[in-house]
Symmetry: none
Subunit: 255 residues, 2 copies
């Protein structure tokens, strides 16, 4: 294990491990257990969106069993978009696809994506929905791909902290493996969520002006499908700039 220890210290996991983002978590117990599972796997960036019982939370501290460095650095957000806006790769854990067309990854494959992405300096995060209901489509569309854990189809609902552990475990196994494995093909830096969102909003604004987002009651679905389509492709920063250029050209032709 000695080599693992020193290797682990070298890679500064805080900077390169994925952020864990819990949306509408209900129980402090689960947040604390998730924090413990994260630190077991060397993950330290915990983000909470609208924790039901507020933050900080005494039950979370108790269940974290000493993972205080995770709890002390936990950030709280009002909405999912703010929680992921600095990330370049976002994966969403969900049992059901709910009419969105997204790449579906196993935890192992997802860990490969995260490891490869982090190796190129990008920041990544994994979304987890609330205990009972799971993620809603508005959150899933923000993701580049979804993660589906192959489990007993007759009893597949994982406890929240258990789901966090599985992802952390697969990531950690990769992170100690990747030191001996060759680098992946180089690729350009993925755009941040905030950069993508700015383009989507500009596109929507132009589509609205042109009458495309009509009738009104269909507009939210159209917007969701557009984001889903573009997010799936893992847009680079250069591509987002190109899309802006296209939008400008089509709406303000020079001739």
């Amino acid at each position: 294990m000695a080599k693992v220890v020193s290797g682990f210290d070298d890679i500064k996991s805080k900077e390169i491990g994925p952020a864990i983002i819990l949306i509408d978590p209900q129980l402090g117990n689960n947040i604390g257990s998730a924090a413990r599972a994260m630190l077991n796997c060397g993950l330290k960036d915990l983000r909470l969106v609208r924790p039901r019982d507020g933050w900080p939370n005494a039950s979370a501290v108790k269940m974290a069993s000493g993972a205080t460095e995770v709890l002390n650095n936990t950030k709280v957000f009002d909405n999912t978009l703010d929680a992921v806006s600095d990330l370049n790769l976002v994966l969403a854990t969900t049992a059901r696809m709910r009419d969105l067309s997204k790449t579906v990854l196993t935890p192992k494959k997802a860990a490969d994506w995260l490891t490869s992405h982090n190796a190129h300096g990008g920041r990544s995060g994994i979304l987890f929905g609330p205990e009972r209901s799971g993620l809603v489509n508005d959150d899933i569309v923000l993701a580049d791909a979804v993660i589906n854990v192959p489990l007993n189809p007759k009893f597949s609902s994982l406890n929240l902290a258990q789901a966090v552990l599985l992802m952390g475990y697969e990531w950690f196994q990769n992170s100690i493996k990747s030191k001996t494995v060759g680098q992946e093909t180089e690729r350009t830096m993925a755009a941040k969520v905030s950069e993508r969102e700015y383009f989507y909003e500009r596109l929507e604004s132009e589509l609205d002006k042109s009458g495309f987002l009509y009738p009104d009651h269909l507009a939210p679905t159209i917007k969701k499908n557009l984001r889903s389509m573009f997010n799936r492709t893992g847009l680079t920063q250069q591509e987002v700039r190109t899309l802006h250029g296209i939008l400008t050209a089509l709406t303000n032709p020079k001739n």
Copy 2:
């Protein structure tokens, strides 16, 4: 997933999956969470050696979240030897080796042993020690090999149910592997190349009109990059129709 379901039923997991044996478990909560994690992974044979708070246990029922078929079949033993006497292969989870010379397996390697063993009709089980102290040597010596989970060396103590989940997860991935190989994730019909090309040509024609494909010598590169971006996303037929609609809307606004 339909094929997974039937494959899973076929293998009669109750008979061939490893038994989970908890030695001196203290908290009913943890036993219940372990039962839930087991059923998530299709494991149903739970054995308890000297549960501190007796059995059955109301906290366990609460935390099992409906994994009653595991709890109802749980067997209780006075000592570890009785709990494992019908098994042909016993693995012990432990963080420390305590002066015993044993083969050390990762969870993944352990799952390979279990799967291979079960395929030959043998019965297997995995020992887990009490929450705080872990397994004692008297129990570890009963095992054919020990399992050590590679985790953050500075914070490696896993919650009991989390440890059960990791082993169940690796076992389940192995048990379904052969049945799911070659299966693609179900998704909406991808657009044909000819359908995509027609859209790209229309887009390029509009971009050309608008002056975006200028200067001429860069046009081929811009076109290539656009195709590359859209093709990467695996456009569906519906999405190609949407893109046509967007192009029409942006170039021929209604107002």
